[in-house]
Structure formats: structure tokens, C-alpha cells
């Protein structure tokens, strides 16, 4: 097919239009059929594309759809690009995406907004594929903003709850802050490279940044966009709130795919970042700090989805750490394994919430292992995978990140490794806590709810099983190796080769140690978060309060902005100064008119005199000047 990529992108768009315009009239069956069928169609085409790509030895496939705009010498084209990197992303997006669509047919079955839900989900997939397959940074940006829109609509899906609608808005605005940086980065890049097509950009930068330009400046500006989309410090604040959306949305958009867009973008532009050591150092530092920060918060959360949300932020941080030390392929590897186990965890959480009739607080769960066995088993596999227990998928990718954090010649350092290792330990710890409190601990479910606990329908458990299987074996696909021709791994710092095997053992130890430490506390019948609160009340308040970042923004950004707009712009400048002086002027005119009107005395002689005087003055003036 000559327009394979175009079709991959367009199928979900057709689903959006169909479900959005006609879905409500055609019934749930048609909605599910179209809503799931077209994404599966996209997935099938992507597989075909992958096979063709392999047959072509990895030679990228380019399809130009149309020219969006031509201005002078610059032509902005809508073109799609399939290479080793975008094919991995596209497979994850359409594959996991299709599974979650199927899961949604069960989860959202009774929702009155069923058609609208699938329309939005298809819309998301469309924009995500535009983002992944776009050849130009501009097309990527179209997808980038588009997925933000879909995310906004889906977070606020139950819009009648003002809290949920607000969460959607917060996500959009926070992302827009990042996008402002992204736009500036794009503008500077345009000056430097004269094009926004990413393969060409990478080629331009292959021999260093063009004269007069700093690759790091461009890199940092674009990374600002990534901190928004991928929820890194300081723009991470929207993601926990985004859990207000339906749980499958959290799995697809806010765990597996959209939030990894920033990681993908950096990997896509590895040509720039390879020439930008300062920007890379910033990325590594922000990544590892975010990873640790979010892991500590995850320890203290009691909402099952919030734990997973902070865990996502943390894992994304690890991906950025890998990018920052030049291990682009490894970051994509973790992105890929993370998509499986985190989607599985979120969907499992959805199944639990479903079983408990909407309960999300893990303090009111427990003892569910026997009641929802499939959910439990799959959740356990995925939890072990994210904890880094070998030979599950998460172990491989995380281990490689730890290794390059220390050993990469482009920025690896001991402190990066140490913080990442601590994060890995904490990850195992909080996942063990979550698994225990939800499924294994004695039940704290109230009697009424307990009677209705039920395993989810097969459309949901089937997807859970598939994702758990992928979480188990997905790590055996050597993604970094597949990507190596495009994204070579960084060299290893001299003298560190010998450490590789001991470090592998150490990562296993960290994972097992984390689980063990949690088990030690939990076995005593205690919630580690409770222990933490008792022992260190001050510190706990800080961590459980998410370090009060939201409060700081509220106080130092939002309120001043409104204050200035209202008090300074509106009340002072617009009303007092501008309108005030206008009104004063008008009053002055009125008063002088009143005074001047006294000259209209009715005395004809005075009028005649004034007329004559005027004529005389006019004549005099024209004699002088003409």
C-alpha cells in the first residue's frame, strides 16, 4: 500500500468522526465495533509496516500527505516517517491502545456517555499517531497539542463534577506552559537548521550545531515542553489530578502512551541532544530528581490510582535519566516495557475499583486476592515487573538504565546512579505495599460492598492477561539492540566494564530488598505509610502533601496573576487611568462648552465684530504664507 502510514493515522480519526457524529444514535454495539475495530486496523497496518521496514533493512519510509503551507522559501509539509524508532512507538501506541479500547467496552459499558467516550479515545489515538509518525517537528507538535486536547476532554469526561473538569483544565494549562518553551525551541531550531523535518535536523546537527547556535539552548527549550507533557519537575503537578478521568484513560494516556511523548521527542531529536551536553545534563538531573521525588510521594498515598500516578512520574523520570546520559535506546526500552506493566497495573486497579463499586482508597480494601483472582494474578505480575524482579520486563530495562546512569561516558555519574538505585528500591517497596494492602491484607471492605465484589467481565480480564504476559516476557525483546543502528548506545567510561555483572546482581538485590523491607513491616500488620507518619510527622506531612508544589504555584503564580489582572490592569489602569482621564476630558469639554456658550450673548454687534476679526486674521495669515 502506498499510503500505509496515512491510513494508520486516519483510521482512528474515522472512528472519532463516526462515534462523535452518529454514535449516540447507532447503539453501543456499533460504537464498540467501530471504536475498537479501527484501532485494531491501525495496529494491523502498523505490524505490516514493521514487517516491510524489517524487509527493507530499516530504511525509513516517508510519505508526504500534502503541503500545509508555503511561505516564501519555506514549505511546511505534512509528511509521515516510519523508521526503527517510530515503528516501536507506533506498535506500542496501537497495540496497547487497542487492548485498552477493548477493555473499555467492559469498563464503560453502563456509562451514558459511551459513544462520546470512544469518540474521544479514537481522537486521542489519531493525534498520538500524528505525534509519533510525523516527520516534521511541526507535525509532531500538532499531535502533541492534539493529545493534550484529548487528555483534557477525557480527564474531564465526567464534566458535571467541577473537580474533574478543573483537573482537565489544569492539565491543559500546565501543558501549555511547557508548550510555550517548546515553541521557542522550535523557533530557534528553525533559525539554526532552516527546516523542522527531524531527519534533516539530525543530519544538520550530525557535525555539530550550526555556527552561532547552541544545541543546548534548543535542547533545553524543547525539554521544557517535555517536562509538561511527561510530567517532570516542575510541571508534574497535573498528572496526579488527571486521575479524575476514567481508569482506562489513565492507563492509556496518563501511563502508557501520551506521557511518554516527551521521551520520544528527545530520542527522536537525538541528533541535537548528542551535541548538547549541558542540556543532557539538565535532563538527567531533572529526570533522576523527579524519579526519586515521585517515588517518595508514592509511598505515602492511599488512593490506588494516585500511587500509580506518582509511580508513573517516577518511571518517566528514569527514562529521562537514560536520555540524559545518552542511552536513548534504553530510554525507549523502558518506555516500551513500562507501557505494558503500567497499563496492566492501571487496568487492574480499574478492575478493583469496578469490583468495589467505585472505592479507590486502599485503606478500605484488602483480601481481594481470592475474590478477584485474575485481577490479582495479573496485578502481581505487573507489580513484580515494575519492581524489577527478574526475569520480568521491568528488570531488563531498569537495570540498563542504572548501568548507563553510572557508566555512560556521556554524563554518567555516581550520584545519578545512587539516586536511581534508591528510586528502584523505593519502587519495589511501595509496589509491595500496594499489592499487600489491596489484595493480601485482611479485608477492610465494608460488609455491604463486600457482598457485591465480583471479578470483571472477560473483555477486561482478557486484556489484563495479555498485558501481564507482555509484562512478563516483553523484556526479552532487545529493543536497544534493534534501535542501535539509529540510536547507538553510549560508550562506557574507562575502567567500569568489570562492574557490569556485580551491578546486575545489585539491582536484583535492590528489588528484592525493597519487597522484603516492605514485607517486614507489613507482616507485623502495620502500614509502612502509617509508621512513617508516626515516626517522622513533619517529614511525612511534607511528603504526603506532595512537597506543597501545588500550594506554591497557587500562591506565587496563580494568585498574583489574577491579582495583577484584576487590580492593576482592570481596576487601576483601564478604569482609573484610561477611562478616568477620558471622563475627565469629557467633563472638561462640557464645562468649557458651558463657559464658551456664554459668549453667545445674542448681541449681533459682537458677532459681527468676531466674524470680521476672524476674516482679517485669516487674510493676514495667508498673506504671510502664500
Amino acid at each position: 500500500m502506498s499510503h500505509l502510514l496515512v491510513w494508520i493515522v486516519l483510521l482512528p480519526l474515522a472512528g472519532f468522526l463516526f462515534n462523535g457524529l452518529a454514535g449516540d444514535r447507532l447503539g453501543a454495539r456499533a460504537v464498540s465495533l467501530v471504536g475498537c475495530g479501527l484501532p485494531i486496523g491501525s495496529f494491523t497496518l502498523t505490524v505490516a509496516g514493521a514487517i516491510a521496514l524489517a524487509a527493507a533493512g530499516g530504511e525509513p519510509r516517508v510519505e508526504t500527505a500534502f503541503t500545509w503551507a508555503t511561505v516564501g522559501d519555506h514549505s511546511f509539509e505534512v509528511a509521515f516517517y516510519l523508521d526503527r524508532l517510530s515503528v516501536v512507538m507506533a506498535l506500542v501506541v496501537t497495540g496497547v491502545g487497542s487492548l485498552i479500547h477493548v477493555y473499555s467496552t467492559g469498563y464503560m459499558r453502563d456509562d451514558p456517555g459511551y459513544a462520546r467516550y470512544f469518540a474521544y479515545l479514537n481522537l486521542f489515538l489519531f493525534f498520538m499517531l500524528v505525534l509519533v509518525l510525523g516527520r516534521s517537528l511541526l507535525v509532531l507538535f500538532v499531535g502533541w497539542e492534539g493529545v493534550g486536547l484529548a487528555s483534557y476532554l477525557l480527564i474531564g469526561f465526567w464534566f458535571q463534577d467541577p473537580e474533574k473538569a478543573r483537573a482537565g483544565k489544569k492539565a491543559f494549562i500546565t501543558n501549555r506552559v511547557g508548550d510555550a518553551g517548546f515553541l521557542l525551541g522550535m523557533f530557534v531550531l528553525f533559525q539554526a537548521a532552516g527546516t523542522l523535518e527531524m531527519d534533516r535536523v539530525n543530519a544538520v546537527f550530525s557535525t555539530g550545531a550550526p555556527a552561532g547556535f547552541s544545541a543546548s539552548l534548543i535542547g533545553v527549550l524543547l525539554f521544557v515542553g517535555a517536562t509538561g507533557k511527561s510530567a517532570q519537575i516542575p510541571l508534574h503537578v497535573w498528572l496526579p489530578d488527571a486521575m479524575a478521568g476514567p481508569t482506562p484513560v489513565s492507563a492509556l494516556i496518563h501511563a502508557a502512551t501520551m506521557v511518554t511523548a516527551g521521551v520520544y521527542m528527545v530520542a527522536r531529536l537525538s541528533g541535537i541532544y548528542g551535541q548538547a551536553p549541558e542540556a543532557s545534563a539538565v535532563i538527567a538531573a531533572v529526570g533522576v530528581l523527579t524519579a526519586l521525588f515521585a517515588a517518595t510521594v508514592a509511598l505515602t498515598q492511599n488512593d490506588i490510582k494516585k500511587v500509580l500516578a506518582y509511580s508513573t512520574i517516577s518511571q518517566l523520570g528514569l527514562m529521562f535519566l537514560a536520555l540524559g546520559v545518552g542511552a536513548y535506546g534504553v530510554a525507549v526500552f523502558h518506555l516500551y516495557t513500562h507501557a505494558f506493566f503500567k497499563a496492566c497495573l492501571f487496568l487492574g486497579a480499574g478492575s478493583v475499583i469496578h469490583a468495589l463499586g467505585g472505592e479507590q482508597d486502599i485503606r478500605r480494601m484488602g483480601g481481594l486476592a481470592r475474590r478477584v483472582p485474575t485481577t490479582f494474578a495479573t496485578f502481581a505480575v505487573a507489580a513484580a515487573a515494575i519492581a524489577g524482579i527478574p526475569p520480568l520486563a521491568g528488570f531488563f530495562s531498569k537495570d540498563e538504565i542504572l548501568w548507563f546512569a553510572l557508566a555512560s561516558r556521556s554524563g554518567g555519574a555516581l550520584w545519578l546512579w545512587a539516586l536511581a538505585a534508591l528510586t528502584a528500591f523505593l519502587t519495589a517497596f511501595y509496589m509491595a505495599r500496594l499489592l499487600w494492602l489491596t489484595f493480601l491484607a485482611p479485608s477492610r471492605v465494608d460488609a455491604e460492598t463486600a457482598r457485591h465484589v465480583h471479578e470483571s467481565p472477560r473483555s477486561m480480564t482478557g486484556v489484563l492477561i495479555a498485558l501481564a504476559a507482555l509484562s512478563a516476557v516483553g523484556g526479552f525483546v532487545g529493543v536497544p539492540h534493534l534501535l542501535e543502528p539509529l540510536l547507538p548506545l553510549p560508550e562506557v567510561r574507562p575502567g567500569l566494564d568489570a562492574l557490569e555483572t556485580p551491578l546486575v546482581l545489585l539491582s536484583v538485590l535492590l528489588a528484592v530488598g525493597g519487597v522484603g523491607a516492605a514485607a517486614y513491616v507489613l507482616a507485623a500488620g502495620e502500614d509502612p505509610a502509617e509508621v512513617f507518619r508516626r515516626r517522622f510527622p513533619g517529614l511525612h506531612r511534607l511528603v504526603a502533601g506532595k512537597y506543597f508544589v501545588d500550594e506554591a504555584y497557587e500562591r506565587w503564580v496563580t494568585r498574583p496573576l489574577y491579582w495583577v489582572s484584576d487590580r492593576v490592569f482592570l481596576r487601576f489602569s483601564d478604569r482609573r487611568v484610561l477611562d478616568g482621564s477620558l471622563h475627565a476630558l469629557a467633563a472638561l469639554a462640557e464645562r468649557s462648552a458651558a463657559r464658551l456658550s456664554r459668549a453667545q450673548t445674542g448681541n449681533l454687534q459682537l458677532y459681527a465684530f468676531l466674524v470680521l476679526a476672524g476674516i482679517a486674521a485669516g487674510l493676514l495669515w495667508s498673506l504671510r504664507h502664500v
Binding site: 508555503t70 511561505v71 516564501g72 492534539g146 464534566f159 510555550a180 521557542l184 490592569f569
Partner: protein, 531 residues
């Protein structure tokens, strides 16, 4: 019929329509509306035909009519389409029938007079865009004020008298300055070349001494800046918008405000290139201030209409930013942004009008959860909100993106020559995209989401007529967002001509921003595709 005749027909159709109105019996309001709609519809079809016939490869005027009018002064009746006005004429003709159809149920008082005024306003607006002679331009420019004055003053809201007085005084003040400048300009051009002419083409060829340019541009600029409006000449706008009936607001936001930016594009900057260079830092600053200040004001409004009114100030700031950048991307973006704003702001004002007709209040706090009660309405509101935010695939993105990229490109080159201020300003302008999302989503969120709440029960969702009107606007929004290539081609030669006009002047060596002054690009240069 020659195309030039068709263009004249387009211009005078509304007058013919207005003259035919008295023949309709007073009671037959439906016939009045139908006639006005038919006239506007025909006018749009003819304009669309001319647009299709407009050859983007031809520089200068097409479908031109030039007749001597007052030969002793050198005034002629000259109209025509060129790259500067073709898109704006199309926009005006496009909005015409929508304005009439949108007012079917809203206007109950003096229906005939109202439609006569709308038709005359349409005539004067088209005349202003089409005029190629400064004298003619000025006549249309001034005449425009009268029907607008009446539309707000007769069919407006409670404080309509205050609003009209403010509107008229502001614009009349600008007009008087412009009149003085027009007379002086014609006089100076005569003194320079010995030929009396008000034709733009002739005026473009005159170069005045810098001090004269400065005074003249100051006069023109003030007049145009009031119309745009640029901060700090903007306080008439929110009052005029809030008091105007929906049709008035749509015309005001859709077309009238573009008179200011069009004036800068066609007259102000190209006529006085040296003075423009002097003024550029100030105008650029005011543009960015307008973007941010307008957005800040939109953020704290409690009246739905005021939010959109202030957002216009912000959005037209982008247009001005693109124009002063003198970068081809920026100019083209500015032209597109004018059209885009006409569609989005026009559409949003129509939506406000529709909810006002149903519930009789514009207080934002009175509403909530409309997405549940009025789903179709809400979908349209959301789409136009997103277009106003500048989401990709909508027209708002095309305009904003090209303007910001162009402004940044120009600023970067000046930065390489040592000037930091333009770069800082164009960087600050990017913050507008954040604030834009903030105030528009605040508006849409409060209106559409949350607990369902309307001040007036029962409300019914959009009627077919309303759906068609909004559907047309949404189609335009996506057309410009997805495939701007076509309209951009139509205006490209004019944008280049504008650049060339700016590059001339007595200032030695021309400006740093002449198109050929661009340094050669490294690899990755795409070949020019322009005809």
C-alpha cells in the same frame, strides 16, 4: 459580464438591497429578513467566484475599475482586488449572510431599519477594503461609522448611549487626525511630483522627507491603532461590544477591527517606510503589551461577552506583531490571523448571542453544565474556544504559529546584529498562548462544565438555522487550519510587495530586514515553490 463589473456588483449589491427594502410592507418582517439574506448570500457567491478567479501569480490589482472622479484634485474612483484585500473581502462577504441569519430572532424592533443599516455597513466595509484611492478610502472609512453607530445606539443594551458616544468619539478623534494627514499627504505628493493623485499606487511611489513621514504616520497610526484597538486606545471596545446587539458585535469583531490592521498593512507602514522603522520598537512593544494585557483583562471578566471582547485585543496584538516583524512568515501569518480572528470571534459572539436570547443574561456565574443541557451548542462552543486558543488544525493555530515564528525569525536576526529587545518581546509574546488557554478554558469550563444550571428554564438546543450558521464558521476555521496553503498563496505577492515597500525609503541602505538580507541557510533549505 466582466470580472470588474462583478466586483462592482459585489460592492453595490447591499445598497440595492437597502434601496429595495422600503418596497416591502412593514408587517412582512420575514420578507425583509429574506431579502437581506438573499442579497448577502448572492454577494457572497459572487465574491467566492471572484476569489476563485483571483490569480495569485499576478502582482497588483485585479478586476480593477478606475474612473476619473474629481480630476482637478486627482481623485478617482478606483477599486480592485489584490493580495492585501482579497481574503478580507472574502471574509466580509462570508460573514454577511451569517450575521443576517444569526439575527433572525434576536431583532424585533425596527426590523427594516436594522437590515438597511447592516446592508449599508456591509457596503461601506467592502468599500474600505476595495478602495485603491485614498480619498475614496477615507470616505468609506468615515461612512462606516454611521451605520455602526446606529446599530449599537438603537438596538443596543442598557448602557448603549454611553457606549456609542465613547465609540464615536474615539474613532472620530482618530478620523480627524487621519483627515488632516490625508490632505497633507496629497499636498506633499503634489509638491514632490507635480502630479495630483490620491491613488495608492502613486502614493507608494512618493518618498517624503523623514520628519514629514513621522508626523503623517503618527496621525495615521493613531487612527488605525484606535480601530485595532491597541492598548492603550482600547477602552471603547469592551463597552461597544457589550452594548451592541449580537449582529453588531459579530461585525465589529469580525470585520471592523481589521480595518485598523488593514490600514497599517496597506497604508500606514508602506507609505512611510522610514517613519515605520522609527516607530517599530514602540509598535512592537505595544503589540506584545496588547497580547498580554488583553489576555490578563479577559481573565478577570464576569460577563461572557467581555471575555471575548478583551480576547480580541490580545488576538489582534498578534496581527500587529506579525506586521511590524516585516518577515514574510509574520506578514502572511498576520493576514491569516485577521481572517481567523474574524471567524472565531465572530462565531463566539454569535454563540453568546444565542445563549443570551435564551436566558437573557450574560453573567458567567449564572451558567454551568451547559454540555449536558445544550450538547450541540456546547460542541460548537468548544470548537470555537479551541480555535481561539490556537489549537493545531484550527485557523487560530495557523495564524499564531506563523506570526510568532515570523516575529521570532526577524528578532533573531536583529539579535545577531546586537539588538536584544525584539527577541525579548517576541519571546514574551509566546506567553500569550498560555494566557489564551487560561482565559478561554476558564470561560468554557464555567459555562459548559460543572453542575447543570441555567437562569431560565426551559432552554432548547440550537435550531437548524443556528446550526447552519455555526457550521459554516466551523468549516472555515478548519479549512484555514488544515489547508492554509490556498489562501496564503493568494496573499503572498502582496506580502512581498509590502516588504519591498518597507525596504525603500530615504534611510540609507534600506532596513536590516530587507528580504535579501537574510543570511544563507545551512543544509535543509527547501526549494521555493512560489510561482
Amino acid at each position: 459580464m466582466s470580472d470588474a463589473t462583478v466586483l462592482n456588483l459585489v460592492l453595490y449589491l447591499p445598497v440595492l438591497g437597502a434601496l429595495a427594502l422600503p418596497a416591502i410592507p412593514v408587517r412582512r418582517e420575514d420578507l425583509t429578513r429574506a431579502l437581506a439574506l438573499a442579497v448577502m448570500g448572492l454577494q457572497f457567491l459572487l465574491t467566492a467566484y471572484l476569489y476563485a478567479r483571483f490569480d495569485p501569480a499576478v502582482a497588483g490589482l485585479q478586476f480593477e475599475t478606475r474612473l476619473p472622479w474629481i480630476p482637478s484634485w486627482g481623485v478617482s474612483y478606483q477599486i480592485g482586488l489584490d493580495g492585501f484585500n482579497v481574503l478580507l473581502v472574502l471574509l466580509t462577504a462570508f460573514l454577511g449572510p451569517l450575521v443576517v441569519a444569526g439575527a433572525f430572532t434576536a431583532i424585533r424592533k425596527d426590523v427594516k431599519l436594522f437590515h438597511a443599516m447592516v446592508l449599508l455597513l456591509q457596503f461601506t466595509m467592502l468599500g474600505t477594503f476595495l478602495a485603491q484611492d485614498l480619498f475614496l478610502f477615507y470616505l468609506f472609512w468615515e461612512a462606516m461609522l454611521i451605520p455602526m453607530f446606529l446599530i449599537i445606539g438603537v438596538w443596543g443594551g442598557e448602557r448603549r448611549v454611553y457606549a456609542t458616544v465613547k465609540f464615536v468619539l474615539y474613532t472620530a478623534f482618530g478620523s480627524i487626525l487621519m483627515l488632516g494627514a490625508v490632505i497633507y499627504l496629497a499636498y506633499a505628493a503634489h509638491a514632490g511630483s507635480g502630479v495630483s493623485s490620491f491613488a495608492f499606487a502613486d502614493l507608494y511611489r512618493t518618498t517624503l522627507p523623514v520628519p514629514a513621514q513621522t508626523v503623517l504616520l503618527a496621525a495615521f497610526a493613531l487612527s488605525f491603532a484606535i480601530k485595532v484597538p491597541m492598548v492603550p486606545f482600547h477602552t471603547w471596545l469592551p463597552d461597544a461590544h457589550v452594548e451592541a446587539p449580537t449582529a453588531g458585535s459579530v461585525i465589529l469583531a469580525g470585520v471592523l477591527l481589521k480595518m485598523g490592521t488593514y490600514g497599517f498593512l496597506k497604508l500606514g507602514f508602506p507609505l512611510f517606510p522610514d517613519a515605520t522603522r522609527l516607530f517599530t520598537p514602540a509598535i512592537m512593544t505595544l503589540s506584545v503589551v496588547s497580547i498580554l494585557y488583553g489576555a490578563g483583562l479577559a481573565l478577570v471578566q464576569t460577563d461572557i461577552k467581555r471575555v471575548i471582547a478583551y480576547s480580541s485585543i490580545s488576538h489582534l496584538g498578534y496581527v500587529m506583531l506579525g506586521l511590524v516583524s516585516a518577515d514574510l512568515l509574520g506578514i502572511q501569518g498576520a493576514i491569516l490571523q485577521m481572517v481567523s480572528h474574524g471567524l472565531t470571534a465572530g462565531g463566539l459572539f454569535l454563540l453568546v448571542g444565542m445563549i443570551y436570547e435564551r436566558c437573557h443574561t450574560r453573567e458567567l456565574a449564572a451558567y454551568g453544565g451547559l454540555a449536558r443541557i445544550l450538547p450541540v451548542y456546547s460542541v460548537f462552543f468548544m470548537i470555537l474556544t479551541l480555535a481561539a486558543i490556537g489549537l493545531p488544525t484550527t485557523s487560530g493555530f495557523t495564524g499564531e504559529f506563523l506570526v510568532l515564528l515570523g516575529a521570532f525569525s526577524a528578532a533573531w536576526q536583529q539579535y545577531e546584529l546586537g539588538a536584544v529587545q525584539p527577541l525579548a518581546l517576541s519571546g514574551a509574546a509566546v506567553l500569550g498562548v498560555v494566557l489564551g488557554a487560561l482565559y478561554m478554558l476558564r470561560l468554557a469550563g464555567r459555562l459548559l462544565f460543572g453542575e447543570a444550571r441555567v437562569p431560565h428554564q426551559p432552554v432548547v438546543d440550537l435550531a437548524l438555522r443556528e446550526k447552519l450558521v455555526l457550521g459554516a464558521i466551523v468549516a472555515g476555521v478548519f479549512a484555514l487550519g488544515l489547508y492554509p496553503q490556498e489562501p496564503l498563496r493568494k496573499s503572498e505577492l502582496a506580502a512581498r510587495q509590502y516588504q519591498e515597500l518597507l525596504a525603500r525609503g530615504v534611510g540609507a541602505g534600506g532596513p536590516a530586514r530587507a528580504p535579501e538580507a537574510r543570511p544563507p541557510r545551512p543544509a535543509g533549505q527547501t526549494a521555493g515553490k512560489t510561482p
